[in-house]
């Protein structure tokens, strides 16, 4: 249902929403409408840049409690109005865009730290809390969430849960889904439910995991209990330059196979080393830059570092860049994302993140690179590998056009075509649709292709939980309005 402002129905719904959350927390002004019409997805940015007005919500509602979320969802069900949860809007897949208008459920007012449990080492908070604010609060108590995504200052914890996000220390501390103990969720029909209090059990399928990555399509996550960690005594980094990506990958995989416990490993391909490592860190070299770190008690860190350096030296580096080059990377880890270091308009760019096993990951890289370069000779392709597992790692590939077509429809068509071809190439070579940014609007069309008949399972769950299809319709490959 689309609501025109001059329609009495609009006023009827508005009154009910005001009754649910309070007058000052229902906003339908142009300023906020504009802010919510654009997230970090390139298409609405481009649309705006070309003078257009991306779809705005009818109402921006700021609930203050799970009960208020439930009330809003009941109203939305009553009138079959789409509801799109919004955290920080920093998602790159268009997941938070109100593509059918309706209600934006802006979660930022639900930002309380409820409890830091020092016996369990966990924190319970509302999900609208900004991730940096949560980290600061936990640090004040002497701990850390160890969740350090580049968007820590931009995004809410709910957004990370909804996209199965990840931070720079994931190699040791895990992605957000590894950090979650339990969840409170408001289902699309307005029931407040809790998943089991511990993440490991044999009490049926894992309900928590059902909601992680559901991108606001299966309900609203309102509270979460996350693991926290003591602040390590020491954290150290070291960097090497390898002659090529393959040799560096051998070293990186070697680190993981050795079952040492690096907190971070990052490997930049030749083009990204030449472009970004030079620009941001000032390290001007030809080859593949590999950096890794360890944290914990200093003696253990030193021991692991020594062994890791031996593994890297055995793999045949071009240069040992030493500790300082590694530390510089850690200090500047967020700098890559500030303008003008980050790509931005008039460039057209996208992060084609995917993940695969060690036996497939290089094939995935080359398949994507070949696809992008052959089909779009004017585009650059760069990539790095971060978030390493015992079995493989994530590829954070990017394509960059220095300038996209002026005509917005043409620009969108070009953009979508890159995604279609590149992600299909990744899937063909053993990758997946996405590693940690989610599916959203951008990649929904590939879900059916990737999941095949298994998609009916997801669709069945969606239908059962959200019979009126109010929750974030048109995202994650689910039906639109």
């Amino acid at each position: 249902m689309q609501l025109a402002k001059d329609n009495y129905m609009y006023q009827m719904v508005r009154c009910e929403l005001v009754d649910a959350v309070g007058r000052e927390f229902v906003n339908s002004g142009d300023a906020d409408g504009l802010g919510h019409s654009i997230d970090y997805y390139w298409i609405p940015e481009m649309w705006h840049d070309r003078g257009g007005a991306p779809q705005r919500p009818d109402f921006v509602v700021h609930p203050g409690s799970s009960e208020e979320v439930a009330k809003v969802l009941k109203i939305a069900n009553q009138y079959k109005i789409p509801v799109t949860p919004w955290g920080g809007g920093s998602g790159s897949q268009g997941g938070a865009l109100p593509v059918y208008g309706g209600i934006i459920l802006d979660m930022k007012r639900m930002n309380k730290v409820i409890e830091i449990d020092e016996r369990t080492l966990s924190v319970t908070c509302e999900t609208g809390i900004n991730a940096q604010h949560l980290e600061w609060a936990v640090e004040k108590a002497g701990y850390s969430t160890m969740h350090f995504p580049a968007s820590i200052a931009c995004a809410t914890i709910g957004g990370f849960l909804a996209h199965r996000g990840t931070g720079v220390l994931s190699t040791k501390y895990g992605k957000i889904e590894d950090m979650v103990m339990s969840l409170e969720v408001v289902t699309p029909t307005g029931e407040i439910i809790h998943t089991l209090p511990v993440p490991r059990h044999a009490s049926g399928p894992d309900l928590t995991m059902l909601f992680l990555g559901s991108e606001g399509t299966l309900g609203v996550m309102t509270k979460v209990t996350l693991k926290i960690h003591p602040i390590p005594e020491s954290r150290k980094f070291h960097a090497f330059l390898f002659p090529d990506m393959h040799t560096a990958m051998t070293a990186g995989a070697g680190l993981m196979h050795s079952r040492l416990q690096p907190c971070a490993i990052r490997l930049y391909d030749g083009p990204e080393t030449a472009r970004l490592i030079k620009r941001v860190l000032g390290i001007d070299r030809v080859g593949a830059y590999l950096v890794f770190g360890f944290d914990g008690p200093e003696k253990i860190v030193d021991l692991q570092m020594e062994r890791a350096c031996e593994i890297c030296r055995a793999a045949g580096p071009k240069e040992d860049l030493g500790t300082e080059s590694g530390e510089a990377w850690w200090r500047n880890r967020y700098k890559f994302f500030y303008p003008p270091y980050m790509f931005h308009m008039p460039q057209a760019f996208g992060t084609l993140d995917t993940v695969a096993t060690f036996s497939k990951i290089e094939d995935v890289y080359w398949a994507m690179k070949k696809t992008v370069e052959e089909n779009f000779p004017e585009a650059n392709f760069i990539g790095h590998f971060s978030h390493w597992y015992d079995w493989g790692c994530m590829l954070y590939a990017r394509f960059i056009f220095e300038k996209a077509p002026e005509d917005p429809a043409e620009a969108a068509a070009l953009y979508n075509r890159v995604w279609d071809l590149a992600i299909r190439a990744a899937i063909g070579a053993g990758g997946v649709i996405n590693a940690h940014h989610g599916v959203g609007l951008r990649l929904g069309r590939l879900m059916q292709e990737r999941y095949g008949p298994a998609m009916t399972v997801l669709e069945g769950v969606k239908k059962q939980l959200d019979p009126n299809n109010i929750m974030n319709p048109g995202k994650l490959g689910f039906k639109g309005v």
Binding site: G29, A31, H36, M345
Partner: protein, 351 residues
Amino acid sequence: MQINQFNEVISACRFCFMCRHLSAVGLVSCRESDTPRGRALIADRIRMHPEELGNPDFVDTIYRSDLSGANRFHCDGYHDGSGYDEVGLQLALRRDIVEAGFAPESVKAIAAEFQSSENWSIEGSGEVLYFIDPCTAARPDTTAAVAKVLNRAGVPFATIRGGCIGKALAVLGFASEAETAMRKFAAAVNATGIKTLLVSSPAAADALRNDFKTAGVELKPEVRFTAGYFVELAEKGKLRFSTRNFAASYLASDYLKNYLRCDCAEKLLALLGIENRQFGTNPEESFTAGEGALVLARLHPELAKQLAARIAARAEPGIPLITASAYTADLLAAAGADVSTLDEVAAEALC
């Protein structure tokens, strides 16, 4: 339009989320539009569609801002001190709004009041001229404290009060009226021949040091902020403070920290032996309840109250708060916080 001078800032901030965690107003309103990104999107929209400049919701959003320099300061940290001047963009937007005649009635009324209130009165004589701005004047404890410290140091001083030095007008977007006010103030001050102009208000310090220079208005005396001046008097042996031996949280002034990059407040606290306990969870947020916007408490009283309440709620029991500006101190006191200004704390510590 004025905003065209800030095209680079608009282009950078409109799609950037990297400092939203420091948008004080955004943190209480939770609105996307109350962030540098939200405001830059508005500016961008106006740049492309100038007819939208008068959109009342856009105008309201631009005047809701606390003009804190915290975001700019954060951005600078990633750009070797030359980040994007998102506060400058907001001020330019305000000037455009005023020039196009779209300023809200409430804004016009405050501006008119400041313009008509110029009636500089100078009392006394001495080697220092203490400027009592309207905010500080409203907090007699602070002005009395400054007088006490100066008397104890044996520094003869005169006072000047009775108007707006242009800062409030500039902040509201009335650029030419602000310049007129600056010139009148400068003429009154310069005529005294006094060599040191002392201020307790960080906003006034910023205006006198930066805005006057930018506007090309000559101010003969050297401008000193009380905290820094008191430290200097102590170093010269003219003042003696007893060591206070207690913990307090100094809420860094937006103007001193983010605009003037001045650490005189911290130096004074160290001199007084006060343990400056980190407020809240981090040193980056602006905990000033809108000091940067100067008249936020009059323009949007509810919003200013919310900002103050957020700060008061974060205060640790038994740890008093210290502010640089009387503006912030008054708002926090009204929110139930135990708060003093730097000047008051210094006066209490006199031996």
